[in-house]
Amino acid sequence: MKLSGLIAAVAGVLMAGSAFAADAYDIDPAHAWVGFKTNHAGWAHAHGAFKTVSGSISFDKEDVTKSSVEITIDAASIDTNDDKRNTHLKSPDFLNAEEFPQITFKSTAIEKTGDKTAKVTGDLTLLGTSKPVTLDVTWNGESPLPWDANTIKTGFSATGSFNGVDFGITKMADFGLGPDIALDIDVEAVKK
């Protein structure tokens, strides 16, 4: 009886430890903005965004390096404020959205850089090619919804960049674009 009580106590402590080590969140698709911009022939920066974003975050506030994030973006949800350009961007000249419908980012390492900032390195998979990309992430804050105290929301902003040609978007130069694509991400996530 004493032994089983001890086992139960240890198991309880371990389970409680794992439960409180990191909080789990789902990204709120209605409040997730993944924007990008890239040089357009030296005239301006062409801007765009993805309308369909989902994912999950495991956020350890005590030790942020033990956190993780996975984001999935629907490549066909690209929007650059012009229907014909959107169609072209979905073609194999750019995102090849039918052959590779999802763009994913999966964190592999997190380095704390400040009280609320970190560098999040992860594998960006675009056009079937995975390469490491580092994002500068800021945790903006966490609070319950004003009208629903049981729903806790947290929010992050992130920036980063990558070279489109590295992922096989070889046509960028033909259209005067790139080569670097800057990311501007804001996401709100709901605590599970």
Binding site: N96, E98, P101, T170, G176
Partner: protein
Amino acid sequence: MLQQIFLTTIILPLVLGVLLSIAGNGHSLARLAFTALAIPAAAALVSMAIEGVPPLPPVAAKQKFPLLLIGAGIVFAILSFVLKQGFGRLVAIILAVISLAIPAWWLGRNVLAANPVKATTVAIVLVILAVLLALFSANRNGQTRQSAAAALPAALLWTAIASALAAIFGGYIGMAQMNGGLAALFGGWLLVRYVSYLRGADDAFALTGMAAFAAIWTAAVSLAMTVLFAPSAAPAALVLAALPLAVAYALQARGVDLSGQPRFLRPLVSGVITAVPAVCAILIAALLQA
């Protein structure tokens, strides 16, 4: 940028078409095998000039495409020797189905599984092209001196042009360039043969056996790529883009006699007739995108 596009999409393939038309002129087994190898290989070169040299292993279909063309060219050249006595329609049908179905699946299985409209359009286009591949490539030496013999190469030109415009209106510029390059390649081939025809060679436009197979197959897989990957290409336009070859077959099978026309006009007349479905395809593609 425009100079680069002009060079890769027009000049390079046109020169390649002229060169392989000169080098492949004649009906010896070696010449047929050369043409069977050279047409897909030249198309692969054009693809790499437009899209760059693909990584190994290739990841995307557009990277697999030039490798497919090179591999197919080698197979077609070997088959030219293996089937040197010519082949009947059964062999031609088996070859046509296998040579189109396997690449379509390799290139586009993601799209075929996820997009029923495209899967249906690909199926219709490939069935039409497989039948025509079999009909044209089966041994038909007796028809190479017909007055409408230019219909097949002219149809290839028109299929490539219609595919290019369907790709542009469908939002895939890279494939429009590729199909445009293919049109220039066939155009270069036709130019040399037209001069040869004017100089008295009645069989100048003859494309038979595996040479015909390779030429039609190259246009077919390029059209299949357009169907699979142009985001908003009109299915009706894509089906019509395959039909110049059907018109060409009808002209030759029915033995349409153009000998009443002046000699210089006969290839042009058969070219204009084969253009009808292509023009319809272009009009439909343009109207639906307007």
